[in-house]
Subunit: 293 residues, 2 copies
Amino acid sequence: MHVMKADWEDLKTVLHLVRGGSLAAAGALLGVNYTTVSRRITRIEATLETILFERLADGYRPTEAGLRVAEFASEMETQELALLRDLQGRDQRLRGKLVITAPQLLIGPYLSPVIERFSALHPDVELVLKASNELVDLTRREADLAVRISRSPGDSLTGLRVATQLSAGFGVQRWVDRAAEGSDAVIDWVVYEAFSHVPKAAKQAFPNSRVVLICDDMAAMVGAAVAGLGVVRMPLFLGRATPGLVQIPVLEPQPYADIWVVGHPDVWPSGKVSAFRDVLVPEFRRRRHEFVV
Amino acid sequence: MHVMKADWEDLKTVLHLVRGGSLAAAGALLGVNYTTVSRRITRIEATLETILFERLADGYRPTEAGLRVAEFASEMETQELALLRDLQGRDQRLRGKLVITAPQLLIGPYLSPVIERFSALHPDVELVLKASNELVDLTRREADLAVRISRSPGDSLTGLRVATQLSAGFGVQRWVDRAAEGSDAVIDWVVYEAFSHVPKAAKQAFPNSRVVLICDDMAAMVGAAVAGLGVVRMPLFLGRATPGLVQIPVLEPQPYADIWVVGHPDVWPSGKVSAFRDVLVPEFRRRRHEFVV
DNA sequence: AATGCGGCTTGCGAAAACGCGTGTATCTGC
DNA sequence: GCAGATACACGCGTTTTCGCAAGCCGCATT
């Protein structure tokens, strides 16, 4: 029992095979050929004298022991990620990759000038931009810095609120006319999935308001608004910047999720990350009125 | 920065190089040639773009970054060890290696019959015995089960007290005669380093008692006692089992550290470990009077 | 029943990692 | 000041590992 010494690379392989469910998927996660995965599993099973996976027609299913191995390996991976973040956070060099993520709709009007300026200042930094509304995992180093529209910086992350925001109802001119008909007017709404109902204030002012579409993507909702489908509650900056949309007087401007710059505390002090903040934050601060007026 | 992905085997190598201090030492710890260690370090330094060691004349000295890598790798190793213990603890097979450790002086008279019986019962178990007074690290899986003479089972270990012990003063016959001369008699003592003074009760009865030798090894002290050098306070079982020694009436029998069987809680339920306990514990329990009479 | 797909195993040649031997620098003790 | 020990770098031949291609199997679709 006591020569038993697991190869760490094999433990990592078990972890990713449990995650992927098949040799091919695990190989893709690990960046190696799937035959390599197969051979490593064979090897570690021999070393541990324990079966870790059942070979089924539709892939590898972990046994109880396999799950345990994966759990511990997952803890090891947590340590690895913490180490890499730690090293990265202390790296003051201004060259190499820097990965930023931001909501699609902010990129054009707000991030472009920031990126332009930053690239001019630090030409040796390869900037990678992930346009994404989903929360990329900063703990797993999927991005170094994120611009997020949310109520709080998020669990265990470091954040800086760069702007407070108001929202209002936007749509094509027709809805202004409709609203002018009086409080009995039927106002159609396209609403965000997370809310999925007409804003309360609008419902009070126009009791005949109704939902015509629930949608999970703000860009698509903007498109629907432009197409005249209905009124969309959206941040002021977005409605005002979108050609064809006007503010519909069915809803007083009301608080919306704010704009944050967030990062993992380990990575926050890194040279590249703070250099990027030094360009990004002033830009938002300078234009903060665009989000509230 | 984001393709940065450390090879776990290389992290392990950094850890052992920090521990060993030289390529050769690290290679020995890892069971690989030291040139391999050198190459792995070169590789991980390139991957992390960070210098982890200073090359000095007398070996590799870790930089600050190297120390940090080693720290995180050490946490990873802790997880690996926990995993291996967990797997081992659930292994109910009665074959393969089983590593036992016990104090030298207990092995002959007490462990031999246990080992003989156990081997007969479970011929497929390769029994490995480490005679050692030093505390082997059960957390690091240096042994699966330990017999220890101590006051408590130890930090975070599972233990079973198999016998309480008394001690007394033992020596050659001459010291009996000397003690008979009366309370002014000069009694020489060989004492254990951890105590390093004459037992208080003996000092009261014979104020002229003195220490002639302080020693850190009980086997050596038994030798000194047999050679007539002085009186040694030792467990009853030991004094009575050693030819040439008799109990010297200078000291009433008094409590001594007890005999424990201890193991790591993870490993404790393992088939082999509990099978061994099933032989060992009854043997000590059956003969428990030998330690107190 | 034939076809296509996803997934695995096996065999082979290429690439990577490894062990060993040799050579060099530094330190220690005589 | 010189032999010996310690520790590392480098080069070469070998072993191990890996990626690729071919083939097998079970399943679903046609």
